[in-house]
Symmetry: C2
Subunit: 191 residues, 2 copies
DNA sequence: CCTACCGATCGGTAGG
DNA sequence: CCTACCGATCGGTAGG
């Protein structure tokens, strides 16, 4: 195991940063080459192309979310605890993987087939299983009887801005932030 | 006043649709020309360039949000009612201006200076005034004592997914949707 | 509103 | 890891 990052990892991280800042389409291979102090053609000794990098970033993150969901589904937790742990994981990802999460969130649509469909299926699967947890919470009386799809998307998107926030470097830990957002979503802002 | 849309309006709407579906950078003037049944060069008889269209879309929407905020600020309403009306307006915009709202939300970063800074200032101003309403709600005991910036972004981003939802054509009116989301944000999902 | 065309830049390859 | 270069496509203009 190498102690230092491989050149490929360095390139992938620089790509994620550029994709976040300018978007996938507006990032050129020459921009990326300059960011890692190479000529554009030399990039291809480490990566096989622009879209392959996007693909790696998108699917790596998708798999991490699925792994965590697998874990939470099999644990003996109340529905409220499951939601809380999912929210916390989303926030940890948003704060620790700031750059690649943005590509994961916003740039996946530039994937081409068949990867695009594969990615959408993974996402749909994740959402359906998240929604199933919400539905069981409604059934057992933990949550209010609100359309589970509305609930799902409201929860998921209320977390999406976090990566944006964290770049400003406010002095709050991910765990604290997770607690505040979970409170808002679960108990609302009304006193 | 013309009863029919001007060609310029038709082009702008087609541009907003393409910017939403593929992103600003990945949309070519030839794509746009094809969408409105023209040759690329003919577009320039109606618009002055690609970025001018993005600029129009972004600032038109920014002004509409500011106008509504102006109205709500001067009305005699409780803080909870102000938040509720703001949320409803966001949702109405997301459902009635589906295409241009996405460009407004996601594609503004492709503006160049000085428009980019001007747009960011407008946005910052809107957020600060929204936050001031939240802060007065915390001060007068209407809302819980949660960091107002966290509250602001959680509210704003919990609405951002709506345009995405509405494309699927679910049988729910904007007003109903606004009520559900306001309930979640104000009272939480816990029974 | 079109044909014809501009220089610039794109992702990527050949060959060393 | 570089120089040199490829065909394709970009936003936009000239001229009618």
């Amino acid at each position: 195991m190498p102690l230092e990052k491989t050149k490929k990892q360095v390139i992938l991280e620089a790509a994620a940063t550029l994709f976040r800042d300018r978007g996938y389409s507006a990032t050129s291979m020459r921009d990326l080459a300059e960011a890692v102090d190479l000529k554009a053609s030399s990039l291809y000794n480490h990566i096989s192309g622009k879209e392959e990098m996007l693909k790696t970033i998108c699917f790596q993150n998708a798999y991490r979310f699925h792994e965590e969901l697998n874990r939470i589904e099999t644990e003996l937790l109340s529905t409220a605890e499951k939601i809380e742990q999912l929210v916390r994981f989303h926030i940890i990802m948003a704060t620790e993987e700031v750059t690649s999460i943005t590509s994961f969130n916003d740039e996946w649509r530039h994937l081409t087939e068949p990867d695009l469909s594969r990615f959408k299926e993974l996402r749909k699967d994740y959402e359906n299983r998240f929604k199933a947890i919400i539905e069981s919470g409604i059934k057992d009386g933990t949550f209010k009887d609100i359309d589970p799809t509305i609930l799902l998307h409201t929860i998921l998107s209320s977390i999406r801005w976090v990566y944006n926030w964290y770049r400003t470097g406010r002095p709050i830990t991910p765990t604290e932030l997770a607690k505040e957002i979970t409170t808002i979503v679960l108990s609302g802002i009304n006193r």
